[in-house]
Amino acid sequence: MKIDKALIDYLEELSCLSLSEEEKIRLTGDLESILAAMDKLNELDTVGFQERNHPFDGVNSFREDIVLPSLERELVLQNAPQRNAEAFVVPKTVE
């Protein structure tokens, strides 16, 4: 299928990315050729087949509701790109 600029912009939005013009041109071509290859699946009649999203049929696995310790706050904050003594720091989100 044809990937136009509007679709690339929409996918960029869904993917939470900001692509450069060069990347957009590149990925437009790539997605077109990948999807053209994917269309091969249309050869198969799948009517009546239940979709499988997992290798095995799921069995609910219950466990007791036990309170276990979580990671300590200082550990959790250790890898933060920006932090203060007790929290992650982000740009102001309210006016």
């Binding site: 996918l11 939470c16 900001s18 990948i34 290859a37 499988r52 959790v76």
Partner: protein
Amino acid sequence: MTAIEISAAIKAKKLTVLQVVEDYLKKIKEQNDVTNAFLYVAHEQALARAAEVQAQIDTGELDDSPLAGVPIGIKDNISTMGIETSCASKMLEGYTPVFNAFVIDKLEAAGMIILGKLNMDEFAMGGSSETGIKGAVRNPWDTARVAGGSSGGSAAVVASDLVPLALGTDTGGSIRQPCAFCGVTGIKPTYGAVSRYGAVAFASSLDQIGPIGGNIDDCAALLSVISGKDERDNTSVIDKPFAFGDSTDVKGMKIGIPRNYFSNGIDDEVKNAVLSAARTLEEQGVIIDEFDMPMLDYVVHVYYIIACAEASSNLARFDGIKYGYRSKNAETLAQVYRLSRSEGFGLEVKRRIMLGSFVLSSGYYDAYYKKAMQVRAIIKDEYSKLFQKYDMIISPVAQSTAYKIGENIDDPVKMYMNDLYTASVNLAGLPAAVLPCGFDAAGLPIGFQLIGDAFSEDKLVTAARAFQSVTDYHTKKAGGNNS
């Protein structure tokens, strides 16, 4: 020496843990530039651990562990507490986990010693280990060629004997194809046999951690260590770790060969080596039978739709807030998300996120994602029927031996076709063992895989052991720069 022999020599006091660790660290320092396989060497941690493990061995605490004192390398998408885990991505450069993956706790409890983290494709997305931020892994048999991917570093270090064992992950062939390209042994376990807790998720319904080593017994020993139930991974379903015996008895086992895997596009040398491996097993009493697997033509398509869909969701967590890269150019929160992701991810990762977003988007979901899930069901059903008839299936791993670095990097469709023989195993959640079975005219290794029914690892190991008991391909080591 094999990994099991190293541990036995330590227990017999012929070697100390420190001697073994120092010997490997020295080799890594001298030779890592050849393959670029280690991203990070945990020098200090390994030396400190060596002393701890030696004390445990001396008190007899680790008598039951066949791998006590054995060094290991870890693919860089498996979380190691206190040791950088970057997934070979700018997004996670400098990220140091504050917890261990389940498998890391297990191998440390078994007295193994982590020597460092291994190069890979960025976020395990690739089949050549060329897309990582620190550059390509080079194949130790010919450094102008790829090591395969995405666990290219894990296969390359074992092939060049920089570690006796390594852990990789396999989402669509990422343990098996690099093992084939580097001439080493590996196991992609049944989905649910090994906890994924602490493995950085790529495609959660397909990912599985597995061992890479110099022979099947070392791999089986490591799989025994890392398998088993984990409360923190709801999909880890086996009650207790695998226990493998020492049988080589394959008499009467039925092995199927998919005839059409050998018809189109496969190199003659690869084809002949794999068929010859089948004959070797036949000579040991296996019954070989041919069949056709018509679904082969659709496997790669289904795999990429599902893997990219899951990846686009899994990688949403990388937003520049709690860990990982944050853009210096962002002023608003929305910009933190978008710019951090855009600057932190490489092109292949972006391509897969975009493709995943597409196949899940309104208007295209039914035609692509739903369709792929239906074909996945057909593939799973086909395998179920095959395993009513056969104990296992023998198959090539790749159509060729290792190709030149840069050869396929600009053609994603061609690159994706690398997974032709491997991805259906992940879609159906099955186990597979990969073993070296020859060399091409240029001296590059060839591998084949044995695919089994779910949780039939024991049979696979027996057949693999039978094969390696009468062949010596697995004993050959790459000599470094052969080009």
